[in-house]
Symmetry: C2
Amino acid sequence: MDEFTSIAYWTSGRQPLEWQRERGVEQGIGDDAAVITLPAVTCGLTADAHMVLAVDTMVEHVHFNSITMADEDIGYKALACNVSDIAAMGAIPLHALVAISVPKSYDVDRIRRLYDGIYACADKYGVAIIGGDTTSAPSHLTISVTVTGAVEAGRALKRSGARPGDALFVTGPIGMSAAGLHLLQHAGEAEQSGYSRLIAAHQRPAPSVRAGRLLLQSGACTSLNDSSDGLASEVWEIAEASGVRLLIDEQALPKSGSMAAYAARAGVPPLDWMLYGGEDYILTGTVTGEDAAEVREAFLREGLPFYVIGQVKTGDPGVELLLSDEGFGQSQHSGAARGGRGSRRTILIEKRGYNHFSTVNG
Amino acid sequence: MDEFTSIAYWTSGRQPLEWQRERGVEQGIGDDAAVITLPAVTCGLTADAHMVLAVDTMVEHVHFNSITMADEDIGYKALACNVSDIAAMGAIPLHALVAISVPKSYDVDRIRRLYDGIYACADKYGVAIIGGDTTSAPSHLTISVTVTGAVEAGRALKRSGARPGDALFVTGPIGMSAAGLHLLQHAGEAEQSGYSRLIAAHQRPAPSVRAGRLLLQSGACTSLNDSSDGLASEVWEIAEASGVRLLIDEQALPKSGSMAAYAARAGVPPLDWMLYGGEDYILTGTVTGEDAAEVREAFLREGLPFYVIGQVKTGDPGVELLLSDEGFGQSQHSGAARGGRGSRRTILIEKRGYNHFSTVNG
């Protein structure tokens, strides 16, 4: 099969033309570029909607390998992590372009399975696949996905609006993806089967599109990020962009029971995965303090979790952690102790997470 | 330097905020996603402009290596080949996102030089760099650029509108990039210095944005492609998408003098580079036969070249070449001879070019 036949084998007949048209697609795969009209009306937005654009890359042996991800998972997650970036702006995902560089030794059916995953995620989140590029590669697979979305003009949720008095929140338990990755790398099949939710959290993350829309519609959300690089890194970004100090209460961090159980078994301090693990694709951000309870109610009405985990303070940009009574246990933290609050200590936490040039993943 | 510091070192202060705002940028680099409003007014388009999106990837050791491209050239060309896709729709380029996967052994200044090239191209074509993603890679650099553009609603120039009687054209000489690549791979520095235009054609291609706009404004352009994969492959795409047969007249193909001179010296049939070389980033397409002379005049008034190289016929989709008197010389063609036209023979030409799965570059 040549390049053009392969692309047709991977993509044709996957999404009906009418379904794509509802998403504003005038010209999809098959020309020099895709052509779209911003479908404000289909999205229920005003005509002057803004467009949101993001790109994320997954590289074999960096983000995945044959032990941690099946081919379908690679495709699914490559799109899901991009949809998460759209969700983190409070926007509605619409279109995606897929750039893929494939070693010559990979057969076309392997890439077709990868596209099975892409289209499974696309169907779930209503994303039209409108174009892409396919090249060969001397070694390792690279997949880079670009997504578009739409948001009410002037209302995209950025990182920079957190103000003292705001409440800091997360929209789901954290550290599950890192625990799943640890399981895939270190545990046998029998043990893995007992923790399928952790493995699914790593392989098939669920971007928080509905949560992002609820936050935007609440009118109370002052800053928002997704937790792709780990909670510590993401809240640091909010602190720096907003020029505020954030305090996280360790006791308020939502901990999944299976993550805690596996952490104990593996001898890993769960807080390491929760703060530095990343790839959970939940949302973290701030809402005005007086509205936090109401936002939480709105989430609960839709069956979605919402946890207040701390607050915004004045002070130099940075992130503090109020330790639980038992202290920090075995975890490594280089931040200096900042004095007591009753019997509980507050420490500064580092700005690190999955950083591609200087640190390692948890 | 960590990832965030590196990105700032490569990108900050490059494009003034006001300059980006004129291109509709509400939020550029520095959040989960970029936010734009389609700047129809600044482009001089109607308010219901359509948006055009394309992505193209360049992979080290596939598209370039340290012999063929300096770091600045890699960045310049990675954006230029995307701008060319926008030009090939008759659209105006506006924004770009840059996804780059970098081996750990590459230092930050090398990538900064690559960004120097990206921004040099961005400035030349008025493209706002609004986001991206940076990851590490186990080996070889991969750069994937996504571009947006705007075009009058419903008027994007596709591949599918060629009709019998139309004239087939190119907007510049072809084969120069392939000749430049051959020089870089095979010739010494002294010889290279005599052919700087060929080398520039390979390293710093000039996408045909103005030509694309002229073609759209003429109202006479029925199909359009850029020649990224080589003329043979691109006109084949038009033939197949339009359901027509195309005839190229070898004598009408615009041949650069330096390309012909170097081809003779290197012992390569120039037609191989002209038909199968690719990466020239000129435009090829069709205009209605009765308007061809007028379109050519419009190009000449702006100092731009325009060559009619053949015509659209009825018949099974395919591409024929009317050989010049002296025949095809040493070049390899597997197409069957199709009988004479006076003393000149017509052959079928293959649908090949730079195809990442089955063939080699000329």
